[in-house]
Point group: C2
Chain length 171, copies 2
């Protein structure tokens, strides 16, 4: 477990010509996160598109709907949970709706609000796509990590999670 709790070199070093850079380990952590994300999402998104005609964002919304009672959530809740802008969610729902995977329903208690309601077809597709997608993520990501590393990633990224948006279930 390499350097544990000792203060090693400072994160940012200034080269002889005055240009600032990450020290080696910090570069590996941050630049590595960016590169790994880019690579994995590109590959996974391509596979998902090819296999089911869904984008990662689209599947994320479907999966969130599938995982909730009544398979119904307000667009703003979807946006908050998925970390997407509301406008983006609106248009993703446009696309999913055009394919018959979700339906927009007016909320009975608030006429401004729209619930995205998963259809039977949407649930079926979400299930199929999620099955292959999770396997792909496991293969490309988790299979290259050990338990300790996964625990650390989970702990770290939980720290950056948004302060849970209210789920505001409307029924």
């Amino acid at each position: 477990m390499a350097t544990t709790s000792k203060r090693s070199s400072p994160p940012i070093v200034t080269r002889s010509d005055g240009f600032p850079e990450w020290s080696h380990e910090y570069a590996a952590a941050w630049i590595g996160l960016l590169a790994t994300h880019r690579r994995l999402t590109r590959e996974l998104d391509g596979e998902l598109e090819a296999a089911h005609g869904l984008t990662l964002s689209g599947l994320e919304l479907l999966a969130r709907l599938a995982s909730v009672l009544e398979h119904r959530l307000r667009l703003s809740v979807l946006a908050g949970e998925a970390g997407l802008s509301l406008s983006r969610v609106s248009r993703i729902v446009d696309a999913l709706e055009a394919r018959g995977l979700v339906e927009r329903q007016n909320c009975p208690t608030d006429a401004r609000a729209i619930n995205a309601q998963l259809t039977a077809a949407g649930l079926a597709l979400a299930q199929a796509a999620q099955t292959t997608h999770l396997a792909a993520v496991r293969e490309r990501f988790f299979d290259r990590l050990d338990e300790r590393e996964i625990a650390t990633l989970a702990e770290v990224f939980a720290r950056f999670a948004p302060d849970a948006p209210s789920t505001c279930s409307a029924g």
Copy 2:
């Protein structure tokens, strides 16, 4: 340090209704990575844009040029190192060139190849932007991690790094 080297629950669990999901820790690790990346890059990109009129990708290219001898690299090398498509790099260089930050130079030894050459203005901007950007990353990212976590992230993400593309320096 929670679960260490013990086989805990399997990564993918199937709910009673047949829908597959990550078990808790795996979800935190993978979904957390996606969400953290999205959040941090959005914030950092906005700051960088506001402060220096650069995108993250643009700064990444400038920084790579700044960090190399002669401040000159072929577009395909930039693309490979940055994990961007060649077409994207070509257009980012268009934009940087329009601002006088880099220049396209024909490679004397291979007329197909183009070197992106950092200008003095480009180096100055790269330096200024990198200084504030690294500080922002430290503040938003590293300051929320301890040494052990950083070491683990570095180790993990290095594993996903591309098999170093040849740098093919052309003088």
